[in-house]
Symmetry: C2
Subunit: 308 residues, 2 copies
């Protein structure tokens, strides 16, 4: 039980999976018995990145309490996004780039959050601060995470630090960022093998906005009609999810990765208020969100502010 | 309103006051319009340190919402220990070395917590990471904070990093740490000008242990009978404080800085459970806590674990 597990959030994305692998590697170099694990199925984008740089998927775990006494969280801190059993283990570190909420510990810990676009950008600093060299394939994973979280540096979450880290890591990994990045994003936006149920859970995160319990899910698409074309089926699924999970809002965002816009479908008792929060109304069941691509920077703060 | 205020917790101690001054200085060097402020009266130890290194006390503020839109917290994160109005301003950074609890933001921020003995030890790293030189008088303040929080490196909260930072800072400040440190701690343990009311609030922090609302206060003394000799008066004051503030527990710890032991007086409906949490009983109104000097490391985790 002396092993330390390193993992990102449920419904894992590329930053969460690769940051677990990368930070476990760094901790191992520093003498910690660390293992990267995951809390859910890989998406197609992450599979593409792992294959490109020759990594296996981390082991899937269920309740963390059955696995280890000590854990490190990457790319998240809110307990409802974390492993089941998280309240029963000791969190020794958190490396994250999200808002902080619903997080509590009994003891002091190492908590490093920075307002940058990607966890990998912080990990890049930690390698330097600990004087550990980044191997080429690890750099490739970190670059993949930055490309994914910043939509190839186009998201408003992208900072100068992310751009700089991306350049450094591309040089180490010896990768053409523009070419590889577009191929990776397209692999992730290939939704042809996904059911609508899959799409709703692929990158869904739970939030509490004031007293309202909400899920905000996001998928990337090359053609948003691949997802939104089946609107009635989609709305039925959203309403079922709301009933099953006692939600006040399910906010489902489809992001057009070529045009950098989003369209949302919302259900639940505060769906209209959610649309209004963006100065929008629900038209034919859809909420148009021009220029919106970032859940973290453009969606969650707006809902937090307006639904309290 | 573009100014950023930097402050530590209510009932300020030496680390909280000096870290506000020191981090405001660092942010100013980095081009931020930062001002150190304080949330309460200075204790005698802090006054001694400020005088030694020629600093004025930071300005006292009441409700932070009337003062600035952006704030940086040092040496704390729990909102009940922070400024009134903290929910209404944007927290852009936190530099801390405590557990994380009752803290939430709508947006990502820079949050740097490390499990070290003193905020100044983290600030020492931040000067290096930002390539800013530490002036001698600033180093003196940082050294004072480390001496205070670690009781001259004797507290179990003290880490190798604190010892090393202390050595570096003593060299820059050109101070004999052992001599200056004992003088500073004794200045803080001089309670002759304090009423019992003063002593209860001097270094009192609010906590939530499960559903119980508690205050844990601590004072350093050379002779604990200076404080505990007036036991009946003390117990009346504790009970009044509990009634006035709707507390379930007031845990008042008097720490003998020469022998590195503590004695507590507890009141409230869970006072007996609090004693039991330390494997102790209340004898003549007192709870003996041999070897206990750290609220953070030896008291709060024990109460958190046992009163939930």
């Amino acid at each position: 039980m002396s092993k330390t597990l390193v993992f990102g959030h449920k419904n894992p994305d590329t930053d969460t999976i690769t940051s677990a692998i990368v930070y476990a590697y760094l901790k191992q170099q520093l003498g910690v018995d660390a293992e990267a694990v995951r809390l859910g199925e890989l998406n197609n984008e992450t599979k593409y990145a792992l294959e490109k740089f020759n990594f296996e998927a981390p082991r899937l775990i269920a309740n963390v309490k059955d696995e280890a006494a000590h854990v490190i969280l990457v790319d998240h801190n809110e307990f409802q996004q974390s492993a089941d059993g998280i309240e029963d283990v000791q969190i020794t570190e958190v490396i994250d780039h999200h808002r902080i909420a619903n997080f509590t510990t009994a003891d002091p810990l190492y908590f490093r959050a920075e307002p940058v676009g990607c966890t990998a950008t912080i990990l890049n600093k930690l390698f330097k601060e600990n004087n550990v060299e980044i191997p080429a394939n690890i750099a490739g994973l970190m670059l993949s995470a930055i490309i994914s979280d910043t939509l190839l540096f186009k998201s408003p979450t992208c900072t100068e630090q992310d751009v700089k880290a991306g350049e450094e890591l591309a040089a180490i990994a010896n990768v053409d960022t523009a070419q590889y990045g577009l191929a990776m994003l397209k692999a992730g936006a290939d939704l042809s093998d996904k059911s609508l149920e899959d799409l709703l859970s692929l990158d869904a995160k739970g939030f509490e906005f004031g007293e309202y319990k909400a899920t905000v899910a996001q998928v990337n698409a090359v053609d948003i009609e691949d997802v939104l074309g089946r609107q009635e089926e989609l709305e039925n699924l959203l309403n079922k999810n709301i009933a099953d999970n006692g939600l006040d809002l399910f906010f489902f965002v489809v992001t057009d990765i070529l045009n950098n816009d989003s369209t949302a479908v919302a259900a639940g008792q505060v769906a209209e208020e959610a649309a209004k929060a963006f100065g929008a109304t629900i038209v034919n069941g859809r909420i148009s969100l021009p220029g919106v691509v970032s859940r973290k920077k453009q969606i969650v703060p707006v809902l937090t502010e307006n639904l309290k």
